[in-house]
């Protein structure tokens, strides 16, 4: 309208931009540091870490072979440790993601849209379980899986996902509760039972939540450390997180910090890629709350 308000608006925008940039820098700095260190030679890495000078960390002479070395030395046989760990992580994560999405959305649909007596209580109990520290159930769960004969297989990591996770059931429920009633009624009149409605109407509409759920599950499962450590015994069953930890224990000293960082970066890459790829859907899934025809 006036020059003044125009100026104020431009000023505000510049200010916002500056803040955004500074924030992004702060957020990304430690990561950048990690990647830099992973490319340093052993001597430089050790020196850079203790020197307290940020500039020394920059890899002027990137040592890409650090990555090959780190992966080769993961596990007891050359490359085999890394191959097994990668395959296990991928299999577990894929199955867990798929299972979590399917089971959580199914339960979420029931909790949101199918009246049954005790539903409210069930829902409250479900919310309650989200507060439960995992430590409470850990040892009894181990005994249970041992009784089932699942210890040292990937099953204890995968199977629980088929029973839904309270957090995602909650997310799905909140989202599904906002789907217009008429849409589901139309589906019922079009001749669909609850399973068909869930599969053909609800699930496609829940795509944003599904993206969120899949990304979260992926990240949590991929980074999960305690459960694989407890349930898996053999080297061949290790997931990447556990392999990384053994690696840390073996290469944890100042001397090997570059290898440790390289190995850490490798395990982070899938999460970063997935996050970038799904970023749009993911943020949307959390931000878009309602479906409008």
């Amino acid at each position: 309208m006036t020059d003044r308000s125009q100026q104020a608006r431009v000023g505000g925008r510049v200010f916002a931009w500056t803040l955004l940039c500074v924030g992004a820098l702060v957020m990304l700095l430690p990561l950048a540091w990690m990647m830099c260190v992973s490319l340093l030679s052993p001597e430089k890495a050790g020196a850079a870490i203790t020197a307290g000078n940020l500039l020394e960390v920059f890899p002027w002479d990137p040592q890409w072979q650090n990555y090959a070395q780190a992966l080769r030395e993961m596990g007891s046989e050359e490359w085999q440790g890394f191959r097994d760990a990668l395959a296990n992580s991928v299999v577990v994560t894929t199955l867990v993601c798929a299972a979590t999405v399917l089971s959580s959305s199914l339960v979420g649909y029931a909790m949101a849209r199918i009246p049954f007596r005790g539903r409210r209580t069930t829902f409250l109990v479900m919310l309650g379980t989200m507060m439960l520290p995992g430590q409470v159930t850990m040892i009894p769960l181990f005994l249970l899986f041992r009784w089932l004969g699942w210890v040292d297989t990937l099953l204890p990591l995968i199977v629980p996902a088929f029973f839904g996770s309270a957090f995602f059931v909650f997310m799905y429920r909140q989202f599904i509760a906002q789907i217009p009633e008429a849409l589901l009624e139309a589906a019922r009149i079009d001749g669909m039972g609850h399973l068909a409605i869930w599969w053909r109407v609800v699930l496609p509409l829940c795509q944003p939540v599904t993206a969120t759920c899949a990304v979260f599950t992926f990240i949590w499962t991929w980074n999960d450390f305690l459960a694989p450590l407890v349930y898996l015994h053999s080297d061949s069953q290790n997931t990447l997180a556990v392999a990384l930890n053994s690696f840390r224990n073996q290469y944890g000293g100042l001397r090997n910090v570059h290898l440790l960082m390289a190995a850490s970066v490798v395990t982070m890459i899938p999460c970063i890629l997935l996050f970038i790829a799904a970023q749009k859907h993911f943020v949307e899934g959390l931000t878009r709350g309602s479906v409008k025809g």
Binding site: P180, A182, E185, R188, I189, D190, P204, K292, G293
Partner: protein, 376 residues
């Protein structure tokens, strides 16, 4: 094609709220019936009970010869068009149209068909039949150019057509419409109304239609059901409702502008109606109302307002050809509809009196509102 019969149907929600009570009606095959009433009158609930979306608390509903109280909506062979269209936002128009059809081929039969040997040919046939039906419905509704669009890319009117199309392709025993036009603007509503009427003529199937707009009801219906507070007030053709409203509510609800309902008293002989604006003589048919308090209903078209001293002219609303005069006479308000050219020199604020045409008054009981006499 089927008849739909409701007998003593009632709905009680959890917590004891009664939404509908004792609704009985029989809808003939191919008939267009409109349920009309103010919001909260139970008309939508009734429709949803017919659809199977609500449980029936009392009474029975039959479609054809079958009692459907316990039948799932899917198995009632009905189609429904919703107020907000209820198009599946993740499917194209064509997929939306095909949705119900596709689903109707139940899995067991599909499995059996696979072992039939000529499964491929049958599928091909089926899908070409399906395509033909979709194309026909789309042509009928003028949406054949939109089949590959997504619902969010359509205008309101187009969405409504798709919603109707989705019902048509199913070729159901009965169509149910739940306020399908109320989200459209006035002009579009007018057009769609005409089209629905034409559609009904073409399809000749049973249609049950819910609206709160009496004009829509009047223009569409073979028969109208007026409801209030969960109870049917009157069931009849538009003409019957207009000419012989069963009670003061129906009288006031049907027709634009609304009928004047004037409080007063019928004289001992039944020959005259006395009210704050004077005396109006009644024809002999009014004898049944003799000597009691009554409401006299007169359509605004039958009222004339002339210069006088019984009251004042409050407003003059000109609608082009016609104009409404609103006068306050005593503590009552009287509306007259006249041709604009007859407006003459009447000004707002001037003294007026009201006269009613003979033989066009309805009398209703002052307490119960029940009709006592028509055309007196």
């Amino acid at each position: 094609m089927a008849t739909v019969t409701l007998s003593s149907v009632g709905k009680i929600y959890e917590g004891g709220v009664r939404a509908v009570r004792g609704v009985s009606m029989s809808i003939a095959d191919g008939e267009f019936v409109v349920l009309v009433g103010p919001s909260g009158c139970g008309k939508s609930t009734t429709l949803r009970m017919i659809a199977g979306l609500e449980d029936i608390s009392e009474g029975t509903i039959s479609i054809g010869d079958r009692v459907v109280n316990e039948v799932e909506p899917a198995d009632r062979n009905i189609a429904m068009v919703f107020q907000n269209y209820a198009l599946y936002p993740h499917l194209t128009v064509k997929q939306n149209l095909a949705f119900g059809l596709d689903r109707r081929r139940r899995y067991p039969s599909r499995l059996r068909a696979m072992f039939d040997g000529d499964y491929g040919r049958r599928r091909l046939e089926e899908s070409s039949q399906l395509d033909a039906r979709i194309a026909e419905a789309a042509r009928m509704l003028g949406i054949d150019g939109l089949l590959r669009r997504m619902p969010r890319e359509l205008s309101g009117g187009q969405r409504q057509r798709v919603a109707v199309g989705r019902a048509i392709v199913r070729n159901p025993a009965a169509f149910l419409f739940d306020e399908p036009l109320s989200n459209l603007d006035a002009r579009l509503r007018q057009d769609m109304r005409t089209e629905l009427r034409l559609l009904h003529r073409r399809l000749k199937s049973t249609m049950i239609y819910v609206t709160h707009d009496q004009e829509e009801a009047m223009s569409l219906a073979d028969r109208i059901v007026v409801m209030k507070d969960g109870v049917v007030q009157q069931l009849g053709t538009p003409g019957e409702l207009f000419r012989t409203p069963a009670n003061a509510f129906v009288a006031g609800f049907i027709g634009t502008p609304a009928m004047n309902l004037i409080r007063g008293r019928v004289g001992a002989s039944g020959g005259a109606f006395k009210w704050s604006g004077g005396k109006h003589s009644l024809s002999p048919g009014a004898g049944a109302a003799a000597d009691r308090d009554a409401l006299m209903g007169v359509r605004p078209e039958r009222v004339s307002i002339e210069p006088g001293d019984e009251g004042t002219l409050e407003t003059v609303e000109v609608y082009g050809e016609t104009a409404d005069l609103v006068a306050r006479i005593g503590d009552q308000r009287v509306v007259a509809r006249i041709q604009t050219q007859e407006l003459r020199a009447l000004r707002e604020g001037e003294g007026v009196s009201a006269r009613f045409a003979d033989g066009h008054a309805h009398l209703f009981d002052a307490q119960s509102g029940e009709a006592i006499a028509h055309g007196v």
